[in-house]
Symmetry: C2
Subunit: 297 residues, 2 copies
Protein backbone atom coordinates (compact mmCIF):
# COMPACT_ATOMS: atom_id res chain seq x y z
CA UNK A 1 0.00 0.00 0.00
CA UNK A 2 1.09 3.59 -0.46
CA UNK A 3 1.01 5.79 2.57
CA UNK A 4 -0.21 9.40 2.60
CA UNK A 5 2.82 11.62 2.05
CA UNK A 6 1.79 13.95 4.85
CA UNK A 7 1.80 11.00 7.28
CA UNK A 8 5.19 9.79 6.12
CA UNK A 9 6.59 13.25 6.78
CA UNK A 10 4.84 13.53 10.15
CA UNK A 11 6.14 10.13 11.17
CA UNK A 12 9.75 10.87 10.23
CA UNK A 13 9.67 14.24 11.98
CA UNK A 14 8.06 12.77 15.10
CA UNK A 15 10.47 9.84 15.23
CA UNK A 16 13.39 12.27 15.09
CA UNK A 17 11.89 14.37 17.87
CA UNK A 18 11.31 11.31 20.05
CA UNK A 19 14.84 10.06 19.40
CA UNK A 20 16.26 13.42 20.42
CA UNK A 21 14.14 13.62 23.56
CA UNK A 22 15.09 10.09 24.58
CA UNK A 23 18.74 10.89 24.02
CA UNK A 24 18.37 13.99 26.19
CA UNK A 25 16.62 12.14 28.99
CA UNK A 26 18.31 8.74 29.23
CA UNK A 27 21.37 9.61 31.29
CA UNK A 28 24.77 8.88 29.74
CA UNK A 29 26.36 9.58 33.11
CA UNK A 30 24.65 6.83 35.08
CA UNK A 31 27.39 5.06 37.05
CA UNK A 32 29.41 1.93 36.32
CA UNK A 33 28.23 1.47 32.76
CA UNK A 34 24.55 1.50 33.69
CA UNK A 35 23.93 4.57 31.55
CA UNK A 36 25.57 2.91 28.55
CA UNK A 37 23.35 -0.15 28.94
CA UNK A 38 20.23 2.01 29.33
CA UNK A 39 21.03 4.06 26.24
CA UNK A 40 21.90 0.96 24.23
CA UNK A 41 18.51 -0.49 25.16
CA UNK A 42 16.59 2.63 24.17
CA UNK A 43 18.33 4.63 21.45
CA UNK A 44 18.68 4.20 17.71
CA UNK A 45 16.16 1.50 17.08
CA UNK A 46 12.54 0.63 16.97
CA UNK A 47 9.59 2.06 15.12
CA UNK A 48 8.59 4.20 18.14
CA UNK A 49 5.00 3.09 17.61
CA UNK A 50 3.94 3.84 21.19
CA UNK A 51 5.41 7.35 21.27
CA UNK A 52 3.79 8.04 17.88
CA UNK A 53 0.43 6.93 19.26
CA UNK A 54 0.83 9.30 22.23
CA UNK A 55 1.80 12.23 20.02
CA UNK A 56 -0.87 11.61 17.39
CA UNK A 57 -3.62 11.25 19.99
CA UNK A 58 -2.42 14.35 21.78
CA UNK A 59 -2.60 16.26 18.52
CA UNK A 60 -6.08 14.90 17.87
CA UNK A 61 -7.30 16.36 21.18
CA UNK A 62 -5.22 19.57 20.84
CA UNK A 63 -3.22 18.46 23.89
CA UNK A 64 -0.21 19.90 25.69
CA UNK A 65 2.82 19.24 23.46
CA UNK A 66 5.39 19.31 26.29
CA UNK A 67 3.50 16.78 28.37
CA UNK A 68 2.86 14.67 25.27
CA UNK A 69 6.57 14.35 24.48
CA UNK A 70 7.30 13.32 28.08
CA UNK A 71 4.45 10.80 27.97
CA UNK A 72 5.66 9.53 24.60
CA UNK A 73 9.12 8.86 25.95
CA UNK A 74 7.82 7.34 29.18
CA UNK A 75 5.83 4.64 27.38
CA UNK A 76 8.82 3.94 25.16
CA UNK A 77 11.02 3.48 28.24
CA UNK A 78 8.53 0.98 29.66
CA UNK A 79 8.47 -0.83 26.33
CA UNK A 80 12.27 -0.81 26.12
CA UNK A 81 12.73 -2.12 29.66
CA UNK A 82 10.24 -4.92 28.99
CA UNK A 83 12.23 -6.00 25.95
CA UNK A 84 15.48 -6.02 27.92
CA UNK A 85 14.00 -8.24 30.63
CA UNK A 86 12.01 -10.35 28.17
CA UNK A 87 15.16 -11.18 26.20
CA UNK A 88 17.06 -12.45 29.26
CA UNK A 89 17.98 -16.13 29.49
CA UNK A 90 15.41 -16.85 32.21
CA UNK A 91 12.66 -15.48 29.95
CA UNK A 92 12.82 -15.77 26.13
CA UNK A 93 16.61 -16.13 26.00
CA UNK A 94 16.95 -14.12 22.82
CA UNK A 95 20.24 -12.82 21.47
CA UNK A 96 19.05 -10.53 18.68
CA UNK A 97 16.86 -7.42 18.96
CA UNK A 98 16.46 -4.63 16.43
CA UNK A 99 19.31 -6.26 14.52
CA UNK A 100 21.76 -5.91 17.41
CA UNK A 101 22.92 -8.23 20.23
CA UNK A 102 20.46 -8.01 23.10
CA UNK A 103 21.42 -5.99 26.18
CA UNK A 104 22.40 -8.97 28.34
CA UNK A 105 24.58 -10.35 25.53
CA UNK A 106 26.34 -7.02 25.23
CA UNK A 107 26.51 -5.94 28.90
CA UNK A 108 25.92 -9.08 30.96
CA UNK A 109 22.78 -10.30 32.69
CA UNK A 110 23.17 -8.33 35.90
CA UNK A 111 23.59 -5.03 34.08
CA UNK A 112 20.64 -5.85 31.82
CA UNK A 113 18.46 -6.53 34.84
CA UNK A 114 19.49 -3.22 36.44
CA UNK A 115 19.16 -1.27 33.21
CA UNK A 116 15.58 -2.50 32.83
CA UNK A 117 14.81 -1.60 36.42
CA UNK A 118 16.31 1.86 36.05
CA UNK A 119 14.43 2.46 32.80
CA UNK A 120 11.13 1.75 34.52
CA UNK A 121 11.94 4.26 37.27
CA UNK A 122 13.00 6.81 34.65
CA UNK A 123 9.70 6.36 32.82
CA UNK A 124 7.83 7.63 35.87
CA UNK A 125 10.42 10.32 36.56
CA UNK A 126 9.78 11.82 33.12
CA UNK A 127 6.12 12.34 33.97
CA UNK A 128 6.84 14.34 37.14
CA UNK A 129 9.46 16.93 36.21
CA UNK A 130 10.58 19.13 39.05
CA UNK A 131 9.15 22.21 37.38
CA UNK A 132 5.74 23.39 36.20
CA UNK A 133 6.07 21.99 32.68
CA UNK A 134 3.40 19.33 33.24
CA UNK A 135 0.22 20.43 35.09
CA UNK A 136 -0.21 18.48 38.34
CA UNK A 137 -3.51 16.82 37.48
CA UNK A 138 -2.20 15.78 34.09
CA UNK A 139 0.98 14.34 35.62
CA UNK A 140 -1.06 12.27 38.07
CA UNK A 141 -3.36 10.98 35.31
CA UNK A 142 -0.38 10.06 33.16
CA UNK A 143 1.39 8.26 36.03
CA UNK A 144 -1.72 6.29 36.82
CA UNK A 145 -2.31 5.23 33.21
CA UNK A 146 1.33 4.18 32.90
CA UNK A 147 1.47 2.30 36.21
CA UNK A 148 -1.74 0.37 35.53
CA UNK A 149 -0.70 -0.60 32.00
CA UNK A 150 2.79 -1.73 33.06
CA UNK A 151 1.87 -3.66 36.20
CA UNK A 152 0.32 -6.92 37.30
CA UNK A 153 -2.98 -6.30 35.57
CA UNK A 154 -1.21 -5.04 32.43
CA UNK A 155 2.03 -5.88 30.72
CA UNK A 156 3.75 -7.79 33.54
CA UNK A 157 0.62 -9.85 34.16
CA UNK A 158 0.36 -10.62 30.45
CA UNK A 159 3.93 -11.85 30.40
CA UNK A 160 3.20 -14.13 33.34
CA UNK A 161 0.28 -15.60 31.44
CA UNK A 162 2.48 -15.92 28.37
CA UNK A 163 5.08 -17.89 30.35
CA UNK A 164 2.41 -20.14 31.78
CA UNK A 165 0.92 -20.76 28.33
CA UNK A 166 3.92 -22.38 26.69
CA UNK A 167 2.91 -25.76 25.32
CA UNK A 168 -0.76 -25.18 26.16
CA UNK A 169 -3.67 -24.97 23.76
CA UNK A 170 -5.36 -21.64 24.48
CA UNK A 171 -8.73 -20.86 22.93
CA UNK A 172 -9.34 -17.52 21.22
CA UNK A 173 -10.75 -15.69 24.27
CA UNK A 174 -7.78 -16.81 26.41
CA UNK A 175 -5.28 -15.81 23.74
CA UNK A 176 -6.96 -12.42 23.36
CA UNK A 177 -7.00 -11.91 27.13
CA UNK A 178 -3.28 -12.65 27.34
CA UNK A 179 -2.40 -10.19 24.59
CA UNK A 180 -4.81 -7.55 25.89
CA UNK A 181 -2.46 -7.46 28.89
CA UNK A 182 0.89 -8.29 27.38
CA UNK A 183 0.99 -5.89 24.45
CA UNK A 184 -2.46 -4.35 24.36
CA UNK A 185 -2.36 -2.56 27.71
CA UNK A 186 0.65 -0.39 26.90
CA UNK A 187 -0.57 0.36 23.36
CA UNK A 188 -3.97 1.37 24.71
CA UNK A 189 -2.27 3.39 27.46
CA UNK A 190 -0.26 5.20 24.79
CA UNK A 191 -3.51 6.36 23.22
CA UNK A 192 -5.11 7.26 26.55
CA UNK A 193 -2.01 9.11 27.76
CA UNK A 194 -2.10 11.16 24.58
CA UNK A 195 -5.77 11.87 25.30
CA UNK A 196 -4.92 12.83 28.90
CA UNK A 197 -2.74 15.68 27.66
CA UNK A 198 -5.88 17.46 26.46
CA UNK A 199 -9.64 17.56 26.82
CA UNK A 200 -11.86 14.83 25.43
CA UNK A 201 -15.60 14.17 25.67
CA UNK A 202 -16.81 11.06 27.47
CA UNK A 203 -17.65 9.51 24.10
CA UNK A 204 -14.25 10.51 22.80
CA UNK A 205 -12.60 8.68 25.70
CA UNK A 206 -14.73 5.58 25.13
CA UNK A 207 -13.97 5.47 21.43
CA UNK A 208 -10.25 6.10 21.94
CA UNK A 209 -10.20 3.20 24.41
CA UNK A 210 -11.85 1.05 21.75
CA UNK A 211 -9.40 2.32 19.14
CA UNK A 212 -6.47 1.43 21.40
CA UNK A 213 -7.84 -2.02 22.16
CA UNK A 214 -8.53 -2.88 18.49
CA UNK A 215 -5.20 -1.49 17.37
CA UNK A 216 -3.45 -3.54 20.06
CA UNK A 217 -5.18 -6.67 18.87
CA UNK A 218 -4.36 -5.98 15.21
CA UNK A 219 -0.75 -5.30 16.20
CA UNK A 220 -0.43 -8.66 17.92
CA UNK A 221 -2.12 -10.72 15.23
CA UNK A 222 0.15 -9.15 12.62
CA UNK A 223 3.10 -9.86 14.91
CA UNK A 224 2.16 -13.52 14.99
CA UNK A 225 1.74 -13.57 11.20
CA UNK A 226 5.13 -11.95 10.61
CA UNK A 227 6.82 -14.43 12.95
CA UNK A 228 5.81 -17.08 10.40
CA UNK A 229 6.09 -15.19 7.11
CA UNK A 230 9.08 -12.87 7.60
CA UNK A 231 12.75 -13.69 8.15
CA UNK A 232 15.04 -12.52 10.96
CA UNK A 233 16.82 -9.88 8.87
CA UNK A 234 13.49 -8.32 7.96
CA UNK A 235 12.26 -8.32 11.56
CA UNK A 236 15.53 -7.36 13.22
CA UNK A 237 14.82 -10.13 15.72
CA UNK A 238 14.74 -13.90 15.61
CA UNK A 239 11.89 -15.09 13.36
CA UNK A 240 10.05 -18.35 13.91
CA UNK A 241 10.47 -18.10 17.69
CA UNK A 242 6.82 -18.75 18.52
CA UNK A 243 6.66 -22.12 16.85
CA UNK A 244 10.15 -23.06 18.05
CA UNK A 245 9.16 -22.30 21.65
CA UNK A 246 5.72 -23.91 21.27
CA UNK A 247 3.83 -20.74 22.11
CA UNK A 248 0.17 -20.41 21.22
CA UNK A 249 -0.39 -17.70 18.58
CA UNK A 250 -3.25 -16.46 16.46
CA UNK A 251 -1.68 -18.30 13.53
CA UNK A 252 -1.30 -21.59 15.40
CA UNK A 253 -4.89 -21.26 16.61
CA UNK A 254 -6.69 -20.22 13.42
CA UNK A 255 -4.24 -20.62 10.55
CA UNK A 256 -2.58 -17.95 8.45
CA UNK A 257 -5.50 -16.93 6.28
CA UNK A 258 -8.03 -16.60 9.07
CA UNK A 259 -5.48 -14.73 11.19
CA UNK A 260 -5.04 -12.21 8.38
CA UNK A 261 -8.80 -11.75 8.12
CA UNK A 262 -8.95 -11.30 11.88
CA UNK A 263 -6.24 -8.62 11.74
CA UNK A 264 -8.16 -6.86 8.97
CA UNK A 265 -11.38 -6.88 10.99
CA UNK A 266 -9.60 -5.48 14.07
CA UNK A 267 -8.04 -2.77 11.96
CA UNK A 268 -11.41 -1.86 10.45
CA UNK A 269 -12.90 -1.62 13.92
CA UNK A 270 -10.06 0.66 15.01
CA UNK A 271 -10.89 3.00 12.11
CA UNK A 272 -14.57 2.82 13.02
CA UNK A 273 -13.81 3.84 16.62
CA UNK A 274 -11.98 6.93 15.38
CA UNK A 275 -14.87 7.77 13.05
CA UNK A 276 -17.27 7.61 15.98
CA UNK A 277 -15.02 9.54 18.38
CA UNK A 278 -16.26 12.97 17.37
CA UNK A 279 -12.64 14.11 17.08
CA UNK A 280 -11.85 16.24 14.05
CA UNK A 281 -8.13 15.67 13.62
CA UNK A 282 -7.74 11.92 13.34
CA UNK A 283 -5.99 11.67 9.99
CA UNK A 284 -2.66 10.78 11.56
CA UNK A 285 -4.26 8.22 13.88
CA UNK A 286 -6.00 6.59 10.90
CA UNK A 287 -2.69 6.45 9.05
CA UNK A 288 -0.89 5.09 12.12
CA UNK A 289 -3.48 2.32 12.38
CA UNK A 290 -2.87 1.33 8.77
CA UNK A 291 0.87 1.48 9.35
CA UNK A 292 0.49 -0.99 12.24
CA UNK A 293 -2.08 -3.26 10.61
CA UNK A 294 -0.39 -3.50 7.22
CA UNK A 295 3.27 -3.51 8.26
CA UNK A 296 5.70 -6.09 6.91
CA UNK A 297 8.32 -5.95 9.64
CA UNK B 1 19.89 -1.04 75.24
CA UNK B 2 16.31 -0.69 76.41
CA UNK B 3 13.91 1.02 74.05
CA UNK B 4 11.28 3.54 75.11
CA UNK B 5 8.05 1.62 75.72
CA UNK B 6 6.01 4.17 73.80
CA UNK B 7 8.24 3.60 70.75
CA UNK B 8 7.96 -0.17 71.01
CA UNK B 9 4.18 0.17 71.03
CA UNK B 10 4.21 2.68 68.15
CA UNK B 11 6.45 0.42 66.12
CA UNK B 12 4.34 -2.68 66.64
CA UNK B 13 1.13 -0.85 65.81
CA UNK B 14 2.65 0.80 62.73
CA UNK B 15 4.13 -2.48 61.49
CA UNK B 16 0.71 -4.10 61.77
CA UNK B 17 -0.92 -1.23 59.89
CA UNK B 18 1.70 -1.39 57.12
CA UNK B 19 1.33 -5.18 56.88
CA UNK B 20 -2.43 -4.81 56.50
CA UNK B 21 -2.15 -2.05 53.91
CA UNK B 22 0.37 -4.07 51.88
CA UNK B 23 -1.88 -7.10 52.06
CA UNK B 24 -4.79 -4.98 50.83
CA UNK B 25 -2.82 -3.47 47.96
CA UNK B 26 -0.63 -6.27 46.61
CA UNK B 27 -3.09 -8.10 44.37
CA UNK B 28 -3.71 -11.78 45.12
CA UNK B 29 -5.59 -12.05 41.84
CA UNK B 30 -2.73 -11.14 39.52
CA UNK B 31 -2.70 -13.76 36.77
CA UNK B 32 -0.75 -16.99 36.35
CA UNK B 33 0.76 -17.04 39.82
CA UNK B 34 2.23 -13.55 39.53
CA UNK B 35 0.15 -12.31 42.45
CA UNK B 36 1.35 -15.17 44.63
CA UNK B 37 4.98 -14.35 43.84
CA UNK B 38 4.42 -10.65 44.51
CA UNK B 39 2.73 -11.31 47.85
CA UNK B 40 5.40 -13.83 48.85
CA UNK B 41 8.04 -11.19 48.14
CA UNK B 42 6.31 -8.52 50.18
CA UNK B 43 4.18 -9.91 53.00
CA UNK B 44 4.99 -11.35 56.38
CA UNK B 45 8.58 -10.39 56.75
CA UNK B 46 11.02 -7.59 57.20
CA UNK B 47 11.35 -4.87 59.77
CA UNK B 48 9.49 -2.38 57.59
CA UNK B 49 12.14 0.21 58.38
CA UNK B 50 11.41 2.33 55.33
CA UNK B 51 7.65 2.50 55.90
CA UNK B 52 8.28 3.33 59.57
CA UNK B 53 10.55 6.20 58.48
CA UNK B 54 7.83 7.55 56.21
CA UNK B 55 5.16 7.32 58.89
CA UNK B 56 7.32 8.76 61.67
CA UNK B 57 8.46 11.69 59.54
CA UNK B 58 4.92 12.34 58.42
CA UNK B 59 3.83 12.45 62.05
CA UNK B 60 6.71 14.79 62.88
CA UNK B 61 5.44 17.27 60.27
CA UNK B 62 1.76 16.67 61.09
CA UNK B 63 1.33 15.25 57.58
CA UNK B 64 -1.55 13.63 55.73
CA UNK B 65 -1.98 10.14 57.19
CA UNK B 66 -3.66 8.63 54.13
CA UNK B 67 -0.91 9.80 51.80
CA UNK B 68 1.71 8.72 54.32
CA UNK B 69 0.47 5.11 54.38
CA UNK B 70 0.46 4.98 50.58
CA UNK B 71 3.98 6.44 50.51
CA UNK B 72 5.10 4.01 53.23
CA UNK B 73 3.90 1.03 51.21
CA UNK B 74 5.31 2.39 47.95
CA UNK B 75 8.87 2.58 49.31
CA UNK B 76 8.51 -0.90 50.77
CA UNK B 77 7.43 -2.23 47.37
CA UNK B 78 10.51 -0.69 45.77
CA UNK B 79 12.66 -2.22 48.51
CA UNK B 80 10.97 -5.60 48.11
CA UNK B 81 11.36 -5.64 44.32
CA UNK B 82 15.04 -4.75 44.66
CA UNK B 83 15.58 -7.70 46.99
CA UNK B 84 13.84 -10.07 44.57
CA UNK B 85 16.02 -8.97 41.66
CA UNK B 86 19.15 -8.70 43.80
CA UNK B 87 18.78 -12.31 44.96
CA UNK B 88 18.56 -13.70 41.42
CA UNK B 89 21.35 -15.94 40.13
CA UNK B 90 22.69 -13.27 37.76
CA UNK B 91 23.09 -10.88 40.71
CA UNK B 92 23.88 -12.11 44.24
CA UNK B 93 22.52 -15.62 43.66
CA UNK B 94 21.10 -15.92 47.16
CA UNK B 95 18.70 -18.63 48.26
CA UNK B 96 17.64 -17.37 51.70
CA UNK B 97 15.84 -14.14 52.57
CA UNK B 98 13.95 -13.30 55.75
CA UNK B 99 14.42 -16.94 56.72
CA UNK B 100 12.59 -18.22 53.64
CA UNK B 101 13.64 -19.43 50.20
CA UNK B 102 14.10 -16.46 47.89
CA UNK B 103 11.42 -15.71 45.29
CA UNK B 104 13.26 -17.23 42.34
CA UNK B 105 13.94 -20.42 44.31
CA UNK B 106 10.27 -20.70 45.17
CA UNK B 107 8.65 -19.49 41.91
CA UNK B 108 11.37 -19.70 39.26
CA UNK B 109 13.56 -17.00 37.81
CA UNK B 110 11.16 -15.73 35.16
CA UNK B 111 8.35 -15.24 37.65
CA UNK B 112 10.75 -13.54 40.08
CA UNK B 113 11.84 -11.14 37.37
CA UNK B 114 8.23 -10.31 36.50
CA UNK B 115 7.16 -10.04 40.14
CA UNK B 116 9.90 -7.50 40.77
CA UNK B 117 8.91 -5.54 37.67
CA UNK B 118 5.24 -5.55 38.67
CA UNK B 119 6.06 -4.48 42.24
CA UNK B 120 7.90 -1.44 40.93
CA UNK B 121 4.90 -0.43 38.81
CA UNK B 122 2.60 -1.01 41.79
CA UNK B 123 4.76 1.26 43.95
CA UNK B 124 4.00 4.19 41.65
CA UNK B 125 0.36 3.16 41.25
CA UNK B 126 -0.13 3.46 45.02
CA UNK B 127 0.94 7.11 44.92
CA UNK B 128 -1.65 8.09 42.30
CA UNK B 129 -4.95 6.59 43.43
CA UNK B 130 -7.85 7.21 41.09
CA UNK B 131 -9.65 9.30 43.70
CA UNK B 132 -8.96 12.48 45.67
CA UNK B 133 -7.31 10.74 48.63
CA UNK B 134 -3.85 12.15 47.83
CA UNK B 135 -3.69 15.85 46.84
CA UNK B 136 -2.32 16.28 43.31
CA UNK B 137 0.77 18.30 44.24
CA UNK B 138 1.63 15.84 46.99
CA UNK B 139 1.22 12.85 44.67
CA UNK B 140 3.57 14.44 42.13
CA UNK B 141 6.17 15.24 44.80
CA UNK B 142 5.98 11.69 46.14
CA UNK B 143 6.32 10.13 42.67
CA UNK B 144 9.32 12.30 41.91
CA UNK B 145 11.10 11.46 45.18
CA UNK B 146 10.43 7.76 44.64
CA UNK B 147 11.50 7.72 40.99
CA UNK B 148 14.73 9.58 41.65
CA UNK B 149 15.68 7.39 44.61
CA UNK B 150 14.94 4.13 42.77
CA UNK B 151 16.55 4.95 39.44
CA UNK B 152 19.92 5.29 37.78
CA UNK B 153 21.14 8.00 40.12
CA UNK B 154 19.76 6.17 43.17
CA UNK B 155 19.30 2.53 44.07
CA UNK B 156 19.75 0.95 40.63
CA UNK B 157 22.87 3.04 40.01
CA UNK B 158 24.26 2.02 43.40
CA UNK B 159 23.73 -1.62 42.56
CA UNK B 160 25.58 -1.16 39.29
CA UNK B 161 28.52 0.34 41.20
CA UNK B 162 28.28 -2.51 43.69
CA UNK B 163 28.54 -5.08 40.89
CA UNK B 164 31.49 -3.28 39.38
CA UNK B 165 33.23 -3.11 42.77
CA UNK B 166 33.57 -6.82 43.44
CA UNK B 167 37.22 -7.63 44.05
CA UNK B 168 38.22 -3.96 43.98
CA UNK B 169 39.71 -1.92 46.80
CA UNK B 170 37.44 1.10 47.21
CA UNK B 171 38.51 3.97 49.43
CA UNK B 172 36.12 5.42 52.00
CA UNK B 173 34.67 8.19 49.77
CA UNK B 174 34.00 5.67 46.97
CA UNK B 175 32.41 3.20 49.37
CA UNK B 176 30.24 5.93 50.87
CA UNK B 177 29.22 7.14 47.41
CA UNK B 178 28.16 3.63 46.44
CA UNK B 179 26.04 3.14 49.54
CA UNK B 180 24.58 6.64 49.34
CA UNK B 181 22.99 5.39 46.15
CA UNK B 182 22.45 1.71 46.84
CA UNK B 183 20.73 1.84 50.21
CA UNK B 184 20.96 5.49 51.26
CA UNK B 185 18.83 6.96 48.48
CA UNK B 186 15.70 4.98 49.34
CA UNK B 187 16.14 5.47 53.09
CA UNK B 188 16.55 9.20 52.61
CA UNK B 189 13.59 9.23 50.22
CA UNK B 190 11.51 7.52 52.90
CA UNK B 191 12.22 10.45 55.21
CA UNK B 192 11.61 13.06 52.51
CA UNK B 193 8.41 11.38 51.33
CA UNK B 194 7.13 11.49 54.90
CA UNK B 195 8.05 15.17 54.98
CA UNK B 196 6.26 15.72 51.64
CA UNK B 197 2.97 14.65 53.20
CA UNK B 198 3.00 17.83 55.32
CA UNK B 199 4.54 21.28 55.58
CA UNK B 200 8.17 21.78 56.57
CA UNK B 201 10.39 24.85 56.77
CA UNK B 202 13.39 25.12 54.46
CA UNK B 203 15.66 24.39 57.40
CA UNK B 204 13.47 21.45 58.37
CA UNK B 205 13.86 20.01 54.87
CA UNK B 206 17.64 20.48 54.96
CA UNK B 207 17.99 18.82 58.36
CA UNK B 208 15.67 15.95 57.43
CA UNK B 209 17.80 15.36 54.33
CA UNK B 210 20.86 15.26 56.58
CA UNK B 211 19.05 12.97 59.00
CA UNK B 212 18.16 10.60 56.16
CA UNK B 213 21.70 10.61 54.79
CA UNK B 214 23.34 9.93 58.18
CA UNK B 215 20.79 7.28 59.06
CA UNK B 216 21.37 5.60 55.71
CA UNK B 217 25.09 5.54 56.32
CA UNK B 218 24.69 4.18 59.86
CA UNK B 219 22.33 1.54 58.51
CA UNK B 220 24.86 0.33 55.96
CA UNK B 221 27.85 0.29 58.30
CA UNK B 222 25.86 -1.74 60.82
CA UNK B 223 24.78 -4.02 57.98
CA UNK B 224 28.42 -4.66 57.11
CA UNK B 225 29.25 -5.28 60.79
CA UNK B 226 26.39 -7.75 61.23
CA UNK B 227 27.43 -9.62 58.09
CA UNK B 228 30.61 -10.47 60.01
CA UNK B 229 29.36 -10.79 63.58
CA UNK B 230 25.90 -12.36 63.23
CA UNK B 231 24.88 -15.76 61.91
CA UNK B 232 22.39 -16.59 59.16
CA UNK B 233 19.62 -17.63 61.53
CA UNK B 234 19.87 -14.32 63.34
CA UNK B 235 19.83 -12.31 60.10
CA UNK B 236 17.26 -14.39 58.25
CA UNK B 237 19.61 -14.21 55.28
CA UNK B 238 22.98 -15.70 54.41
CA UNK B 239 25.67 -14.24 56.71
CA UNK B 240 29.27 -13.80 55.65
CA UNK B 241 28.26 -13.12 52.06
CA UNK B 242 30.32 -9.96 51.68
CA UNK B 243 33.65 -11.60 52.45
CA UNK B 244 32.70 -14.74 50.51
CA UNK B 245 31.92 -12.65 47.42
CA UNK B 246 34.92 -10.39 47.93
CA UNK B 247 32.85 -7.22 48.21
CA UNK B 248 34.37 -4.10 49.74
CA UNK B 249 32.66 -3.19 53.03
CA UNK B 250 33.21 -0.71 55.84
CA UNK B 251 34.58 -3.59 57.92
CA UNK B 252 37.01 -4.79 55.24
CA UNK B 253 38.13 -1.20 54.74
CA UNK B 254 38.57 0.01 58.32
CA UNK B 255 38.25 -3.03 60.58
CA UNK B 256 35.48 -3.96 62.98
CA UNK B 257 36.22 -1.53 65.80
CA UNK B 258 36.65 1.55 63.61
CA UNK B 259 33.53 0.60 61.66
CA UNK B 260 31.55 0.50 64.91
CA UNK B 261 32.87 3.94 65.86
CA UNK B 262 31.95 5.21 62.43
CA UNK B 263 28.42 3.87 62.80
CA UNK B 264 28.17 5.56 66.20
CA UNK B 265 29.31 8.90 64.78
CA UNK B 266 26.80 8.68 61.91
CA UNK B 267 24.04 7.87 64.37
CA UNK B 268 25.01 10.82 66.58
CA UNK B 269 24.91 13.11 63.57
CA UNK B 270 21.46 11.82 62.66
CA UNK B 271 20.22 12.75 66.13
CA UNK B 272 21.89 16.14 65.80
CA UNK B 273 20.09 16.81 62.51
CA UNK B 274 16.75 16.13 64.18
CA UNK B 275 17.67 18.42 67.06
CA UNK B 276 18.43 21.20 64.63
CA UNK B 277 15.36 20.63 62.46
CA UNK B 278 13.05 22.85 64.49
CA UNK B 279 10.47 20.05 64.48
CA UNK B 280 8.71 19.46 67.78
CA UNK B 281 7.62 15.86 67.46
CA UNK B 282 10.77 13.90 66.70
CA UNK B 283 10.72 11.41 69.58
CA UNK B 284 9.77 8.53 67.31
CA UNK B 285 12.38 9.50 64.71
CA UNK B 286 15.06 9.60 67.43
CA UNK B 287 13.99 6.16 68.63
CA UNK B 288 13.88 4.82 65.07
CA UNK B 289 17.44 6.02 64.52
CA UNK B 290 18.61 4.17 67.63
CA UNK B 291 16.69 1.11 66.52
CA UNK B 292 18.58 1.18 63.20
CA UNK B 293 21.99 2.10 64.60
CA UNK B 294 21.98 -0.35 67.48
CA UNK B 295 20.16 -3.30 65.90
CA UNK B 296 21.56 -6.83 66.17
CA UNK B 297 19.84 -8.37 63.17
Amino acid sequence: MSEPAVFVAWRAQSQRAVEQALSDWVPPGAPAGLGDAMRYAVLDGGKRLRPLLVLATSEAVAGDATAAMRAACSVELIHAYSLVHDDMPCMDNDVLRRGKPTVHVKFGEAQALLAGDALQALAFELLVPGDASVPLGMAVSLCRLLALSAGADGMAGGQAVDLASVGKALDLPALEAMHRRKTGALLQASVMMGAATGQTSANGVTQLQRFGACLGLAFQVVDDILDVTADSAQLGKTAGKDAASDKPTFVSLMGLEAAQQYADRSLAEAHDALNQSGLNHCDVLHALADWVGRRDC
